[in-house]
Symmetry: C2
Subunit: 213 residues, 2 copies
Amino acid sequence: MNVLIIYAHPYPASLNAALKDRAVSVLQDAGHMVKVSDLYAMKFKAVLDQNDFLKPCNRDYFSVPGEQMAGVRNGTLAPDIQAEMHKVKWADLLIFQFPIWWSSTPAILKGWIDRVLAQGFAVNLAEGKLYQEGLLSGKKALISTTAGSPPEFYSEGGPHGDINHHLMSLWHNTIEFCGMEVVPTFYVFNVGVMDDLQVNAELERYEEYLRLL
Amino acid sequence: MNVLIIYAHPYPASLNAALKDRAVSVLQDAGHMVKVSDLYAMKFKAVLDQNDFLKPCNRDYFSVPGEQMAGVRNGTLAPDIQAEMHKVKWADLLIFQFPIWWSSTPAILKGWIDRVLAQGFAVNLAEGKLYQEGLLSGKKALISTTAGSPPEFYSEGGPHGDINHHLMSLWHNTIEFCGMEVVPTFYVFNVGVMDDLQVNAELERYEEYLRLL
């Protein structure tokens, strides 16, 4: 299958980078095609704004969904958005690889979602193309993420609450909203206090997880 | 009191802009001091990266919390971060004004959170300064937000789920995490299909809400 890894971490020696690299090698070894959108390395523009629309359809009233619909229809979205859309179209599986910051995605990844999963490309609300009818149906998506906190902090009843609950805006209201099937999330907790042996064990665990996909 | 409005919408004729403007006038009329961080107008840098740290304490291993702690301690964070921190210190009440995109904040606002609410400034995990002990305790924060969907879509059992649940990563894991007290969220639903009368009614409702704060 074709796999697109959307990777968001500012540091190439991070555990997130190692997880991304491990996924590339494991998936390629298994005969899959892999592309990586390394958002930091690409200096991906995080902020959805009027520059995203090369020929605004309405200069008096800027409506994000309206401009996105027109931009998709007319091929007048900014080139970096279109390039990402091509990769998404190509992919059978998307992997979102990122550290949990503030119980959510880093801004650069949120910007990728805001800009790339445009109305008319990923969903079409006017035509009811969402959830099971979402325009990206047939694809799967996996969240692979790391947290500094121990798992008990991010559990039901823990101080932060259940992390799976916090990431619902990504796995349900984004991935499933666009019609994609969610693969169970891969979590690594306690990042930053692990020694090399523990890091390697987590990379091995991810490798096994990916081999069973 | 001193009020800081952190405002994130790309279009000055949006309902979010009108809500922000209404808050400024109502709060000033009531004798409060108001500052606005208009993130789009400021072209606020959304992406936390190594350029945020003018004198990295560790060039071999980039740790976000470690660099933030050192940057706060030594006054070596990027000037735009320090300017926002000064406003936060000054404020008794923070108002987050933004449209809900993907059941969450726009990337530019997430970037403000990632960069400004730094370790050592807003929380200090090593010293247990979080939640009730958070470094921003004594302040309050209000989420004022708009959604295109009708409220029943964003309710328990609705297709998107309870919006208050999705925003928990902001009101609990961000605002309360830093020690601030949460003021009940102000929601406007059905944005984009309202006529002028309905828009005005929502602005009046916000005005009344703010007067009772």
